[in-house]
Amino acid sequence: MSAIKFTEDHEWIRVEGDVGTVGITDFAQNQLGDVVFVELPAVGRRVTKGGDAAVVESVKAASEVYAPVTGEVIEINQAIVDEPAKVNAEPMAGAWFFKVRLANPSELDGMMDEAGYAAFVDGQH
């Protein structure tokens, strides 16, 4: 059973066991526009909830991707480094950014679920 949670910075994290898969939302990729560059954290790096984890750049602008949770990066998605446009095409699936082993699963408790995030995005318009 996996659960998906969202941050106010438009990252998503899908958690299975103690491993979370992190990406950016469809709203985020749409706001960014055509993604041309992705920089991912090194495997083994410890990321901190709310801290810098990755960089995504569109034609227009550079944007930080923050870690939704604290933990160790255990895998990265080289496919989006090789083909950044994937982030626009399938942000919620194939274009995940990295996997993190959660140090503190209770960090997920305060985060939005799918319905909560949808309402949050509506409020941004």
Partner: protein, 368 residues
């Protein structure tokens, strides 16, 4: 600034109807992109034709006896030598040879037609009034619309609506009818492609824009692609690559200073320019190619191979037609030769970059 305080161009409703994402630019609500996105818009302009709303720019008519001579007291360009129908790129300079704005001047026969940047137009107008009033009649036409049609198919498309442009050369202007509307059309632009700028009464702008968009080659293009197109073409963006702290010579715009003007001077900052032409400058605007895929954007520090600061990027991004990151900026003259290895410090990380000739994508202007 709140959205309600923003000015709108005559094409505002059309942008909204086309699904544009509107952003603030120079006090106007302007389309940064349409639903297809910047990358597609950029590539479409280089492949066929793109229609840009640049109505936020300032159109000014100058009339009077010896109007060319009067304007020459404010710009280093050869305006007196500009034949009827000819257009020229030039600069307003200050007494230190800093650049107040860059502009296009066309000799329209009975007047000079001037187009200035949106962000500077009120200052430019005040500058003209302060310096030329009494000698020249200055007529701001800030309510008129300006459309740019750019790309290799632009001429073929415009000819269908405006037979009067037949045979019109690059950097020339003509009063012609476009779709029956009296316009002033120049063959020029800001993309490195062949193209036209169409100055048009506000109340007819939407009609003509819709007619152009109805042609199969034409798509609407926003400010996002306008910026990436001009960057690939190596063209300066005022307020970024040139401003009051940069001189025409530092900016590598030596070619804008006419031969006669070099000898005669007679414009603000002429002594500084003469000195810099004779003795060189401490720094120089150059093209920069970052290695790899990561863009190096405005404000990125540049260092030499050993890590000593040598300059700063003033415009940088991803060049969709170039297929990689491109940038321009100022470096110390000792490091300004093409091929010089530098480092661009992106988010604290030094990354290899090379000084490179501009344009990054060859200009394809129409030269009959």
């Amino acid at each position: 600034m709140t959205e309600s305080a923003l000015k709108e161009t005559p094409l505002h409703a059309l942008h909204v109807a086309l699904g544009a994402r509107m952003v603030e630019f120079a006090g106007y609500a302007m389309p940064v992109q349409y639903p297809t996105g910047i990358l597609t818009e950029h590539l479409h302009t280089r492949a066929a034709a793109g229609l840009f709303d640049v109505s936020h720019m300032g159109q000014i008519r100058l009339t009077g006896e010896n109007v060319a001579g009067a304007l020459e007291t404010l710009v280093p360009g050869d305006i007196k030598g500009l034949g009827v129908g000819r257009q020229r790129y030039t600069l307003f300079t200050n007494d230190e040879a800093g650049i107040l704005d860059d502009l296009m001047v066309t000799n329209a026969g009975d007047h000079l037609f001037v187009v200035v940047n949106a962000g500077c137009k009120h200052e430019d107008l005040a500058h003209l009034q302060a310096r030329l009033d009494g000698r020249v009649t200055i007529e701001a036409q800030f309510d008129r619309a300006l459309l740019a049609l750019q790309g290799p198919a632009a001429a073929e498309v415009l000819l269908r609506l405006a037979p009067g442009i037949a045979g019109q050369g690059f950097m020339t202007g003509r009063a012609v009818e476009v779709d029956g509307v009296p316009c002033f059309v120049t063959r020029s632009g800001y993309t490195g492609e062949d193209g036209f700028e169409i100055a048009i009464p506000a109340d007819a702008a939407t009609q003509v824009a819709q007619r152009l968009l109805g042609e199969p080659e034409v798509k609407p293009i926003g400010l996002g692609a306008r910026d990436s197109l001009r960057l690939e073409a190596g063209l300066c963006l005022y307020g970024h690559d040139i401003d009051t702290t940069t001189t025409p010579i530092e900016a590598g715009l030596n070619w804008v200073i006419g031969k006669r003007r070099r000898a005669e001077g007679g414009y603000p900052g002429a002594a500084v320019v003469a000195d810099q032409l004779a003795n060189g400058t401490r720094r120089r605007r150059v093209g920069i190619l970052p290695e790899g895929r990561q863009p190096a954007r405005e404000g990125t520090p540049l260092t030499d191979a050993a890590g000593n600061p040598v300059g700063t990027i003033t415009s940088g991004g991803f060049g969709p037609s170039f297929g990689g990151p491109v940038a321009m900026g100022y470096v110390e003259t000792a490091h300004s030769k093409d091929g010089t290895a530098l480092q661009a410090v992106v988010r604290g990380q030094p990354r290899p970059a090379t000084v490179a000739a501009m344009p990054f994508v060859p200009h394809r202007y129409f030269r009959p």
